[in-house]
Symmetry: D2
Subunit: 350 residues, 4 copies
Amino acid sequence: MFFASDNWAGAHPNITANIAANAGGFAASYGASEIDKKVEQRFNELFEREVAVYFVGTGTAANSLALASVNRPGGVSLCHREAHVIEDECGAPEYFTGGARLHPVDGALGKMDPANLRKELKRFNPGFIHAGQPMAVTITQATEIGTLYTLEEIATISAICREKNLPLHLDGARFANALVTLDVTPAEMTWKQGVDIVSFGGTKNGCWCAEALVFMNPDQAKDLPFIRKRAAQLFSKTRFIAAQFDAYLKDDLWLNLARHANAMTSKLAQAINGSDKVKLAWQPQANELFAILKKSDSEKLQAQGAVFYDWNPPHSADPIAEDETFVRLVTSFATTEAEIDQFAALIKAL
Amino acid sequence: MFFASDNWAGAHPNITANIAANAGGFAASYGASEIDKKVEQRFNELFEREVAVYFVGTGTAANSLALASVNRPGGVSLCHREAHVIEDECGAPEYFTGGARLHPVDGALGKMDPANLRKELKRFNPGFIHAGQPMAVTITQATEIGTLYTLEEIATISAICREKNLPLHLDGARFANALVTLDVTPAEMTWKQGVDIVSFGGTKNGCWCAEALVFMNPDQAKDLPFIRKRAAQLFSKTRFIAAQFDAYLKDDLWLNLARHANAMTSKLAQAINGSDKVKLAWQPQANELFAILKKSDSEKLQAQGAVFYDWNPPHSADPIAEDETFVRLVTSFATTEAEIDQFAALIKAL
Amino acid sequence: MFFASDNWAGAHPNITANIAANAGGFAASYGASEIDKKVEQRFNELFEREVAVYFVGTGTAANSLALASVNRPGGVSLCHREAHVIEDECGAPEYFTGGARLHPVDGALGKMDPANLRKELKRFNPGFIHAGQPMAVTITQATEIGTLYTLEEIATISAICREKNLPLHLDGARFANALVTLDVTPAEMTWKQGVDIVSFGGTKNGCWCAEALVFMNPDQAKDLPFIRKRAAQLFSKTRFIAAQFDAYLKDDLWLNLARHANAMTSKLAQAINGSDKVKLAWQPQANELFAILKKSDSEKLQAQGAVFYDWNPPHSADPIAEDETFVRLVTSFATTEAEIDQFAALIKAL
Amino acid sequence: MFFASDNWAGAHPNITANIAANAGGFAASYGASEIDKKVEQRFNELFEREVAVYFVGTGTAANSLALASVNRPGGVSLCHREAHVIEDECGAPEYFTGGARLHPVDGALGKMDPANLRKELKRFNPGFIHAGQPMAVTITQATEIGTLYTLEEIATISAICREKNLPLHLDGARFANALVTLDVTPAEMTWKQGVDIVSFGGTKNGCWCAEALVFMNPDQAKDLPFIRKRAAQLFSKTRFIAAQFDAYLKDDLWLNLARHANAMTSKLAQAINGSDKVKLAWQPQANELFAILKKSDSEKLQAQGAVFYDWNPPHSADPIAEDETFVRLVTSFATTEAEIDQFAALIKAL
């Protein structure tokens, strides 16, 4: 019953098999090999346009370099108040931009509220240099709390970005999990709604380390080769990241793995809905579920082998009782129905 | 005949097999899994003392974070004038330290001359803030040009570091290649000669992405967890870097691979010594060889299938003729004798 | 009727006279002259202990270098949500620290609420590197909105800092204005309540450019000479900053100027209290006053010669009507009673 | 006999008088006052074109922000091996650019050798990201060692910059001293030879703190307002920097002060030429003189009241004897003939 994080799962056999299959022989390093080019081409098909793709090693790197690519002096990027970039990357986005600030925007259910975005943007009057200058808006899909922006919601935010001439970045550490719930194409979830740059994550969904920074407009990525190399994210043997993506994107593996992960979370939600000791904090839409239960019950579940973390409640959440705790449960491609059943039984027995 | 770089080679089968072997099941992420701990213990044995080990994704990351860990305001690290850190990392060490300078020190054969090191250090009078303050000395072993510091030479440099209270970092992207030529232990090549921090590279010698930052004194690495995470080098599924090192360090695989790579360079040197069209720039000591030949001959060799790069001659090298070129040939664990024989035949036929 | 900012005022005649008086002859540069040492000694007397004093050119520099002096990897400084450091310095504190974040804490009347500070600090569990690590708490006295922390309120915040082993910085751009209202000594308003580092501002109160970074514990400032020089804030002819402070601190000039500025704001508040067209947003305690009035009235006042700015209402303020505006009025050492009388008459006539 | 530095001199009476004359009344802050605009216009006249002018507080700030304004990822600026930017600014240029490197170029007499510049630029092949990308060339006029580039020499360097599409920056901390020796106009010494950005220094030549960053093409300075504010170099009461420049540039004061300073150095050189105990290291061309003498004689002169510093000999200088020392003597607007005569007598008596 491992619900601590989707990064506690390992790698899908197809991924490791393709790493091994590409390990022999000599290949140009630093992104110039055959399989690098093949996978870049695959991304063009995926996004139904010519994109610029840069492989990096971690999601934090993808997000940080995305923001570094649109960096400005006194730059400010607006994100949700509990976004991964501002809460969970140890300051990497500020570090890689030499101090460009992340400015929090409130919103319910982990999603930036467009009205709040407008309100916060008003603080940055172009003639008032003291406040700095906005340089990007960044959203997360699926969000940090397992919810989803609808296509319309993304379009509403991107319309504000267009007005202000700001690029829109999408942190897609759980891109596939969002895609399968919404049942749309990558193009529909990104550039067709006005998204400019995507952190396309494979690691949490069955790869071991495969993240791609995808620019919808390759012209905007001209300095990326230098930005990436200077950031120590240019791997010499890039063929091995390419090989992971090659297997990941083949025969819908990535979508099937995400469907499974999401289905496991749905099953978990059903179990919780049937209990009067545990309640859902809100309806899960991807592969993360947040719940509220008594501290003593939480400890009991953990003592019985369930692995999960306490979590900081969002600023927008209702306060919980003193003797309650707020927990996160994450499922992955590797989660089994048996694990969920076992956990459901434990809940029932509380 | 792939002599472009040791990073054109792929990964040894034992490495990919161990990646696959560790892909199943759930494991704590971010460095807390069983195999992470096992490999950390293995490093303690290897260095014959309790060390602090941090896995990162690239050699540039290892070097940059090593310097970031000893960072000081106005800090200056002294390195050889043609060191990898100053020539080939796109400014990463300065970037990750927020601008700490690399100060070049001259020396023959790619090695820092101790007398020059002393002379340059004189520029940094502690009472003279304008020059900044030294924060580290960094050397490369094997050097960028395939030569080696003797143990005595390392000890001479570290003695100067001790006098000035400066940590000594060793860039060991080709650590194994140096070790097998010198026929010494890791402890003998590092802390027994006064080295404090090591970038321990596995990637160029048969891994796909396995680099470790090793601190001889764990107390000096207290902030490294934050430094690494902020630098986007904390991989979530660290088990897969650990798995590479696990296989790499087992049954002397790493030493055997390095011996093979070095032997291939020796064989190449013999072929060149027998030619009057190509001459060695200096005697190779590890797995890189530098040679001077006519541009037209170089082009002919490449047209016949030999892959290698032109290289910037060191500042200390004698000038070459207008119609000559300076080239680098690198062998690796994957280089075959047949390749060398084929290349030898081409040289002979020039 | 210049109420735009206290930095619209020039310099007091005593200040410029002392600049001229110290302009002749040769003196050691970079902080080593006689008058530099004399003023450093004066600061010791002022704070009733041996402090370390570093002159810089701007308040933004003082704040940024204060935070740079306590910088940590993944560092986070907690400040009020509308503090000058986070709202009005164009990202300088993040820039000078290479990306250390400012984390906003809410609180009424421009003051950090201790309960909120505790709550936000809980996000930074020492074992959880993803969130980064707290490195400082910074408060502003007088605050950005012209209110004051009582000594007890400062002590309450510093007690939290002590618990968490965090230094407490005080942005004293309007230090004198706070001091005279509270009628306490510099020691009482700072280290006796647990403040560790002070940005001691003279510019807004009659100097032309005189800011000092004051460390209550000189040991914590060891690297400051390098931090300041690297930040381009080491003036060669420091004697001229020293000369300003010399005159500023002589015969209570600084306190008298602040008393005058505050009295002018009080007089302004009385005028507003007597009006039914303009209302105070809250009670002013130093030399800044915030008011709410009809947009049309605001425009009328400006058309008649009153100079002041619209201001972003604090997040904690009640919303204002669509046809209203929120404005800031600042008085200074140079404000005359006649100006206030003239403005009072205009208000009356609305 | 104060020959330690031109920054040991104070401020010319016209400068301090104009500070006092502009101290009264209210004026828009942050560069928007009448005198700010008047002085900006004066710079247009001076340079015979519309330039963009930004006042800053120190020469280090001017140089660092000049380079920050042309910053690129992996950026490298080429400067003379002993330039002030690389030797004497405690790493500020690297710090303000987030790590862009200064790459040293050798050349005799403190001047970048064009052939060496070309040679070093070859290291930065546009297709080779590992080396980074050149972003600027920066020269110093007068140089750190008191010599001058001829107009032709500047033009030769700028021609190389044009070929490589690189901006050319000129560090003019001693701009006036160079101008009067060459007897040319500001336009002739700068943009007419292809200089793009000038650090125009007033501090060393009679101001107390007046440095201007001048862009020949205002379009290239669009982000400078943010760059300067973020760098804590936007003074609130800019009128006082403007007032200094106003007096400095009036009635040729600046040129007359520089002529005097240079004449004093010439007179000093004559005294030294008549001695067989002290020899000129090279012919001085501005207001700095470098000499070689016995250590015992140097100590004797200092014991008799002469104030000057030992200096690091340039890398290109001939070695000196063990018992000799290399010293720097600087004259300024405030140096008197009597001081020189007194020093000449001491030399004679050695």
